[in-house]
Structure formats: structure tokens, C-alpha cells
Symmetry: D2
Subunit: 343 residues, 4 copies
């Protein structure tokens, strides 16, 4: 039985609490929030769970094996580091930290102490994204592009740009689904409200191969779109998260290249098209967050590695950071340190 | 009665011929193509129209007042210039020329001789795009963004990149719909076939205001998408060209900004959301090409200016050219010469 | 403060409990279910609410002003009648009763005692359906048809046919939205499982005017559809409940009839088409069940009439009953008693 | 080389002419229409084809082997019979005749003379419908239902009801795709314009098995829908003709029935649900009419039987006729003569 404390009971905390309460192998011990008024509903609904506004109280309690952190991004590092240093396993909301330096220090600390560090890249644990990885691993031929649109009329965040709020999802999915890691990033965007971070942004990711990735995020769109296209030479995928059941469609489409003819001084390939059936595989519709938290608990019990571990969190933060640098320079390409260093 | 010759009878030429044949005030005199075998169906279906592979024969004939050019882009300049120098009005396929230098020389030559020069920016003449301009002119509040996706599994072109083939449509629509002209462009993309031009590309357009524009074009997508979002502070538009009738949807949505509160050292706006009705205006479904050609004929008769004149063609080619430069440099921002110079 | 007891804590009961618990003017006193094992979560989450398997205990308690019944249809009459006879107001799940005779006796009993009797026709209380009624009241011209498709791969019910399970929604919406009441009904359908009630059915409703209504319900469809078309001579409505926000679309479309010409011996109308804009009004997205329960409480407090009162429940049950008779006779038309008798 | 004359050059005739002109083994000899003014464009575009308003001239010409008839329905019988009696093969528009008596006499006459009689059930020759038949023949398990919606804001016809105009398509598709033939039909509908035939109708078809079919047709719908659901116990099909490419979707969904338990006096099956992948097979996109006419020509040359022969035409007319009888009696069930008699 793993004892868990939830730190932060704002927007996402209640989801952690509800899911942890349902895990047979876990016991929810505390819910902690600086704003005590938020904790009243916890007391009413979970009478056996302690509430507090004092994180030190939580970390002093020996029944607490792990903490799940759902506080603002700017506080992730401080709280997670404190918990690690107190010998607790950590599950932290995305993005893992506000800078890659912070993220790296968390990874190092967890490693040093042999503690589990997991980041809540929720989408990675959905049936749709796991199926997508399976299909990509089975092979799409040469990888051509990864293109995602994630737009809606959404809550403006005052502390982070739309890149840290929305693109983080795409980057974490990409990190899981693609075998290759990006080597450089560029981003353009705009803030339409004085004094606020960007509310619209376009990211380009460059790879060593001919793969190209692009992410379009926007908080001010009149319609909601959640659509990713993945193109390969032999198959292509459309992932539409708003489809109620057929979220993943696999197209047996692509191009064929023939030797071509050298006409004059230019050697030209003959490009042909191949189109076949489409299929939409059945997906596991289990709630992703529950699955992810059960995995975290199981990793503690059996000393295994979470799918979305600290390194995954670090790789994503590294790209967010580079994208932010690029945004400030109208899309200058920012190189990422070699992926092998952080994978 | 305006006498017209069509030059080039490949993919698009038959559409010009069919539409010109239906204009009461025009008379189709010649169809000219270097490949004489292409002309047999013209002879069969339009027995009164002369066919030839000799453009000089066409330009010697005093009955010919104007030419409509539908040849490969690389030949537009040479043929259009020859026609202008022979005193003929010119209607030329998009993009108007292969370089902005060529485009400018055509504009200058037409001006000098008082001849009409029109470029076939077909979409500008559709009911959907004309309605969209009307709505933008009525006001969307502050203009935030223009975002277009134009992807499909399409014919690879060997001579031009996907930017010149597909993005040209978006650039011509933007040129017509937006009051402001871009001041810089950046573009990233990739060719997935050795020796071929880019088959996927992303363009960013920068403006003096906070408006930002983005165009995503792709010849290798498993699904066809033709969707443009235009965001303003008070209204937003979705233009989906694949919708059979409701191509334009106008959303009474936006954000409201209140004075905000200075909390600490950061002055923050309070961002509120406003959502109201959506409406889809009825659209004129007349074939755009016919409307455009009738306007060209009418401009010759009444000495008025075509909507998509040589300057519009030049502005679009200038952006295509800059985007191509940027593509070669992983998205370096390329400044466009001041819009007022070419508008 | 109105004291309420919820009777039945199976599929729908938890929704009643959750919503009643949120009404400021109401106090949830009891939750009652014959299966005591179902009541454990109530005790855990609502420690101040009493639980029991004895309805008589509930009705003896003077703090209970009203009961909300969410038991199987076959028991509605008995429980509701018992509650009315004990002087309690009644809110009962749809369909109100298993026969029109039962429904009528409930209406009479409530009237005699001056008690409120409301039936949970939830859809009537959604923003979409209320807006639809507004639009119909503003006028669609002559009413032509009401056509609804409500199909999915759904839970087979062993005790009632798909008509009583799904068509009841359409009949209650129609009862609210249309000014005219049907005078006859016919229905065809099929059971594809031996010993089970019909799992697919088609209902026709006839009116005194030229209005015609049709309802298609199916538990065995591969896709989910929830779409209603309402056609009038001057406007038409599409109501798609699966659309996330634009559930109601109003089309300014219709036909125009001109005097016509008597050619030969047949006098023919000239039928013209008129098409204009479409608009999708913004909808109140408040949870319908909460709104409905608040109205029920307010009706008790202020002695006003619920929108979906016992007569509405009776009218719907009367049609369900007639449809069932028709189903058994391959679609024989069954007349409904004059609407004025029960409205 | 088969010589063909087209009789009737109104709405559909031009399509016949265009397609016949493209068949290598056929030669278009005449186009005949009572209104000579309609024939001018034929003369202009097909200078080698003779035009006439005299059908007898056509039938006297020994070069004419077959006629393709695209005149109003009421004239099909007279013209087709005249052609058969003159020894010509006949291809006739749907519906084949105005009554089943007429249709039967045409079938008998063609049989007696050993001539080909084909009816233009165009949809049967599309890639989508042919694929659908393949899938049904491979097996959907027990057949449960066939349900089609075919509605739009369409051209009112003054001579025939919406059943003869639109439902004829569904009946011809069903005749081809389903192995079983209906044994009875009922129909309800309404005319909303005085003196005009029904503009909205609902058909039920009954079979000896538990299969049930339903067709909904409407000329006054604000949106266009062309959707058919076919349900079987092991697979289900959605055929949406408005989808640009994925017109056919096959769902690996259904119910499973287990022995069940006899609880009390009712023996109940346990109904379980099974859901698996969906796939959309690639379809042959060849123009159906061209394929159908080539088949007709080939049948004449090789004395084989057209897919949509006179008997198919008769079966469809028989149902249309019975539906019309039922419509006049508010949906009374009309038995069809045993299918074996006419198949």
C-alpha cells in the first residue's frame, strides 16, 4: 500500500484526488493547498483524508511515500525538490518545471536517491496515443512529417504562454510516439493583449532525418480543433481527439518513387500515388489519468520506470524553453543539445 | 465585342476556353498550344475557333484584342510581354511570373501602354471570398490572425514547390481580404523526394500591426483540408472551402479586456470571453472563373481596373519569392519591400 | 426550504441526488433504495443524508415535502400514488407511468390534493430545446414536418422496448416544441432477439394539419445519431444534440408558391425555392436536470405549474401506449383521444 | 460495333450522350427529342450524330441496334415497347415504367424476342454500392435492418411523388445488395402543396426473416443527407454518399447472445456488445453511368445479362406501386406478390 499526498487543489488537483482514491494499492493520506478554503469539499467528500496548508507537515508524516504535485508551474521545482530531498517519490504536473536547468536537477536528484520521478503527460497514457505509437513502431515507411493543430477559445493564462499551456501536450505526445528526437526548434507567435504572454504560436521542429514537425496552438480560435497528421512514405495517420470513438484513422496511402528518367540535365524521380483502405482501430477508452497513476504506484512497488519519467519531462521542457527563445527572435532556429544527452 | 486568344491548352486552358465561349461580349478567336495534338478536341467542339501552334500568328491577327495565358509559370513572362508589346491586353494564370522582377516589368509595360493586365487569382472571385472581404471590411475589431491549412494528397509538381502551387491561393486571398499588407515573411518546409522542390511548407507573414498570418501547405496529406480561420477581437471567421454550402461561418466571439489590476509590479489585463451566435451567410455560387473573365472583358470595354490586376499579381509573386529565399535558410525572416511601393 | 427524498438509487438516482444537493432552497433528507448495498456511497459522500430501504419510513417523516422517483417504470405508479396519497409532491422519471390509465390517475390524484406532479422530461429543460421552442413560436411559416433520428449501439433493456426508452425523449420534446398535438400514431419495428421487446422502431405521428412527424429509434446502430429536422414553409431547423456547441441551426430556406398556371386540366402551383442565411443561436448550457429540479422546488414554494407537468407526462405515455399497440399490428394507425381532453 | 440512339434530351439525356460517345465499341447514331430546339447543342458538339424529333425515323434505320430512353416516366412504356417490337435492345431510365403491368409487359416482350432490356439503376453501378454488396455477401451475420435517409431541398416534380423520384434509388440499391426480397410494404407521407404529389415519405419494407427496411425521402429538407445504415449481428455498414472518398465504413460491431437465464417465468437472453475496428475500403471511383452503358453494350455483343435487367426494374416498380397504394391509406401494409414470381 503506497501512501500518497496531493499538493495543490486548484484546477487539476481534484482529478488527481478522485483517481488516487480509486487505486486499490494506494492510500490517499493528505490533500495540501495554501488556500485552506479550497479544502472544505475534500473534507466533506473524503472524511478519512487529512487536509492541511502546510507541506512540511505532509513531508514529516512517515505514512506518505509519494506526492502528486498540481501547483502552478513556477512552484514545481521547489516543491518537487523538497519532496525528493525528504525521500518521497514524485508525480508532477506538466510541464515538469519552469526551466530545463530545474528539470535536470530534479532528474539528477531522483536518480541519486533512487526515487521515482514521473511527469503527468496525460495524453501519452490515452488509448489513442498508445495505439498511435504501436502503429508508428509497426512502421509508416520513411517518416515525413508530424503536424498538430490544437486551438480553441480558451482560458488565457497570465503566467505562461500558449506554448507552455497547449504545445506541451503535442511535444509530450511526439516524444512518446516518434523514435527520433528533434535537434532544433523555431517558433513564431504573437501576444494580442498588452502585457500578456503569446496567445498564438507556431512551432517548427527539425530532426536529423527528413522528418519535419509543426505545432499550431491558439487560445483565440472560434472553433475547437485537436488534430494531428502523421505522414510516412507508406502509411499516414490522422488523430482527431474530438472524434468520440474513431480518434485514430490509418490511411494506406503514400507515394511511390521510381527510378525516374534523366531528361536533360535534371534527374527526375517519377512520383506515383498509392491509395488503399483506411481503418480506425478500436481504442482502450480507460481514463488516462487513472492508468497513469496506477502505473506510478506500480513503479514504486516494483521499482520499474514510469513511461513518462523525469527525462521525458526534461526533454519536453528543453523544447519549450528553446521555443520561447525563438519566439522572442521572430523564429530564429535554436539548436537543442544532442538528444542522446538527455534520453 | 472583344476578340480573345487562349495560349496554352493543358490542364487549365480548357476551363478558360469553356468560360470565354460563354461570354456574350467576347469572341474566342484562337486556341494556341505548342503541342498540336492537344488541339484536336478544340477543333471538334469549337469548329469556328482557329487553332495554331504559332503565337506570332495569333498576335498578327488584328481581331485579337486580348490573350489569356495558361502555360507553365516559367513561360508566363515571355509570352505576356510579347503580347503586351504587340498591344494586347493580358489575362495570365497564377502565379503571374516566376520572379518579382518579371512581374514588375509586366506591370510597367502594361501601364506604359495603357493595357489591361489581369492575373487569374480565381479564389478571389468566388462568392465565399468576396463575402469574407465584405465581413472583414464591416469589421472584426482588431485583427489578430489569418491562418490557413491547404493540404491533400496531390499532384507533385516537378518545376515549382508546393508554395508556388498551393500557397499562392492563400496569398492571393489574403491580398484581397486583408486591408494590411505583410512586411516580412518566413518559411520552413521539406522535400521528401530527392531532386524535387518542397512538398510541405509552413509560411509566416508579419505585419506592422499585431496581425500574424500563417499558411500550411502539403501535397502529401492523407485527407483534404481547405480551412482558413480569421480572428479578430470582436468576430471570427471560419472559411471551409470543402463545405458544400456553408463555406463561411461568422462567430460572434472574442475577448474583452478590462482595465485590469496592478497586482505587484505587473499590470495585468482582465481577459474575458464573449460568445454569441454564429451565422453562415448565403453565398453567390456563380463559377468564379466565368465571373473573373467577364470582368476582364468589361474592364477592356470600359477602361476600368480588374480586381486582381498586375499589381496584385506582383505582390503575391514578391511574397512567394521571399518565402522561397526563407525556405532555403530554415526560416530566416525575409523583409518585403514596403507595400506602398507596389500597391 | 423544501425537504426532498430520492427514491431509487440505480442508474439515474445519483444524478438526482447530486443536483438536489446543490439547490439552495432544497434539503435532501433521504435516499431510499430496496437494495441497501447501493446506498453505501451515499452515506460516504452525503453524511447528513439518511438512507433507508423503507419507503414508508420516508413518507412518515414530516420533513419530507416531496419525493423524486427514479425506480423502474413498472413501479412509478405505485410509488408516486403512495407519495401523493401521503400528501407529498412528486417528481418522477420518464416515462411517467407504464400505462395511460396509471398516468391519468396520478394526474387526477395530484389535482385533487393540490400537489405538484412533475415528470422528468430532461431534454425539455436544455438550452437547445428551449431555444427551439422560441424559434418555433416566432414562426417557421406553415409547419411541414418534425423528423427525429435517435440511434446508437445502446443498452438493451429487458423490460421496455426502444420506444419507451428512446422515443420518449422525442415525444416529450415534440410535446413542448410544437403547438399542435398529434391525433393518431402508427409504428413499425422489430425485435431481433427472441423474447426481447423491439430494439428498432419507426413512429409516425399524424396531426389535424398537414404536419407529419416521424421518429426513428434503434439500439443496434453502429454510430450514434441524435438529429432532428423541423421543416416549415419559411424556415427550417436542424437540431443535432451531438454538436458540442452549435446544436441548433436555423435555415432561412423554404419554398414559395405562386398562383401557378392551369395547363390543360390540371392546375399547377409554381414551386420556387428560397435560400438565405443560416444561423446558430448561442445556447444556455446550464445542466438541464439541475434547472428542472430548481423549477420543481420553486413551483412548490410559489404554487406555480412545472413546465413538464403530469399532463405532459400523460400525453407522452398515451402516445407510447398507442405506438405499442400499433407495433403489434405492423403499423396500424391508432387514434389518440382528442388532445383537448388531456391538455 | 453497336449502333445506339438516345431518345430524350432533357435533364439526363446529355449524360447518356456524353458517355455513349466515349464507348469504343458503340457508335452514337441519333439523338431524338420532340423539342427540336433542345437538339442544337448536339449538332454543334457531335457533328457526326444525326438529330431528329421523329422516333420512327430512328427505328427505321438499320444501323440502330439499341435505344437508350431518357424521357418522362409516363412515356417509358410506349417508347420502350415500340423499340422492342422493332427489334431493338433497350436501355431505359429509372423507374422502368409507370406501373408494374407495363414493366412486366416490357420484360415479357424482351424475353420473347431475345432482346436485352436494361434499366438505369445508376447507383448499383457505383464502386460504393458494388463494394457494399461484396461485404454483405461475405456476411454481416444475421441481417437486422436496412435504413436509408435521402433528403435535400430538391426539385419538386409535378408528375411523380418523392417516392418515385428518390426512394427508387434506395429500392434499386436494396434489390442489388440484399439477398432477400421484401414481401410487403407500407408507406406514409404528405404533400404540403395543394395539387402536388407527396414531397415527404417514409417507407417500411417487410421480409420473411427478421430483416426490416426503412426509407426516408424528403424534397424539403434544409440539409442534404444521403446515408444508409445496414445492421447485422456481426458487422454493420454505414454508407454515406456525400463523403468524398470514405463512402463505405464497415464496423466490426454487434451483439452477442448468451444462453441467458430463466428468471421466473420469462426466459431472457443475455445481450452483450462487441465492438472492434472500423475500416473504409478503397472504392472504384469510375463513373457509374459509363460503366453501366459499357456493360449494356457488352451484353448485346456477348448475349449476357445486364446487372440491372428488366426484372430488377420490374421488382422496383412493383414496390413503388405498392408504396403508392399504401400512402393513399395512411400506411396500410400492402403485400407484394411472392418474389420468386418475378426474380
Amino acid at each position: 500500500m503506497i501512501g500518497i499526498a496531493v499538493i495543490g487543489y486548484g484546477y487539476w488537483g481534484p482529478n488527481l484526488v478522485r483517481n488516487i482514491a480509486d487505486i486499490p494499492d494506494a492510500r490517499l493520506i493528505y490533500v495540501c493547498d495554501l488556500r485552506k478554503d479550497r479544502l472544505a469539499p475534500v473534507e466533506a467528500r473524503y472524511p478519512t483524508v487529512a487536509v492541511t496548508d502546510d507541506i512540511d507537515e505532509v513531508l514529516r508524516d512517515p505514512r506518505v511515500d509519494a506526492v502528486a504535485i498540481a501547483t502552478p508551474v513556477s512552484t514545481h521545482f521547489k516543491i518537487a525538490m523538497k519532496a525528493l530531498m525528504a525521500g518521497r517519490h514524485v508525480f508532477v504536473e506538466k510541464p515538469m518545471a519552469a526551466t530545463s536547468e530545474e528539470a535536470r536537477r530534479l532528474v539528477d536528484e531522483a536518480n541519486r536517491r533512487g526515487l521515482k520521478l514521473a511527469v503527468d503527460h496525460t495524453f501519452v497514457h490515452t488509448g489513442a496515443v498508445r495505439k498511435m505509437r504501436e502503429i508508428v513502431e509497426d512502421g509508416l515507411g520513411d517518416m515525413y512529417y508530424y503536424d498538430s493543430v490544437r486551438v480553441n477559445l480558451g482560458l488565457f493564462q497570465h503566467d505562461v504562454s500558449v506554448v507552455w499551456d497547449l504545445a506541451v501536450h503535442d511535444l509530450s505526445i511526439m516524444d512518446y510516439v516518434l523514435r527520433e528526437k528533434p535537434i532544433a526548434v523555431s517558433a513564431t507567435g504573437m501576444s494580442h493583449v498588452v502585457g500578456e504572454p503569446e496567445n498564438i504560436a507556431y512551432l517548427n521542429l527539425f530532426f536529423e532525418s527528413k522528418l519535419i514537425a509543426h505545432v499550431h496552438v491558439n487560445w483565440l480560435a472560434p472553433v475547437k480543433v485537436r488534430r494531428t497528421l502523421i505522414g510516412g512514405s507508406s502509411k499516414m495517420i490522422v488523430y482527431d481527439d474530438l472524434e468520440p470513438s474513431e480518434k485514430i484513422k490509418v490511411y494506406d496511402k503514400g507515394i511511390t518513387l521510381n527510378g525516374g528518367t534523366g531528361n536533360g540535365d535534371v534527374y527526375q524521380m517519377l512520383v506515383g500515388y498509392r491509395t488503399g483502405d483506411m481503418y480506425a482501430p478500436q481504442l482502450d477508452m480507460t481514463e488516462a489519468l487513472g492508468r497513469e497513476l496506477r502505473q506510478f504506484v506500480s513503479c514504486i512497488e516494483h521499482d520499474s520506470q514510469p513511461t513518462t519519467d523525469g527525462l521525458a519531462g526534461l526533454r519536453v521542457v528543453r523544447i519549450l524553453e528553446a521555443a520561447t527563445q525563438s519566439l522572442a527572435q521572430r523564429g530564429r532556429v535554436v539548436d537543442l543539445e544532442p538528444a542522446r544527452m538527455i534520453a
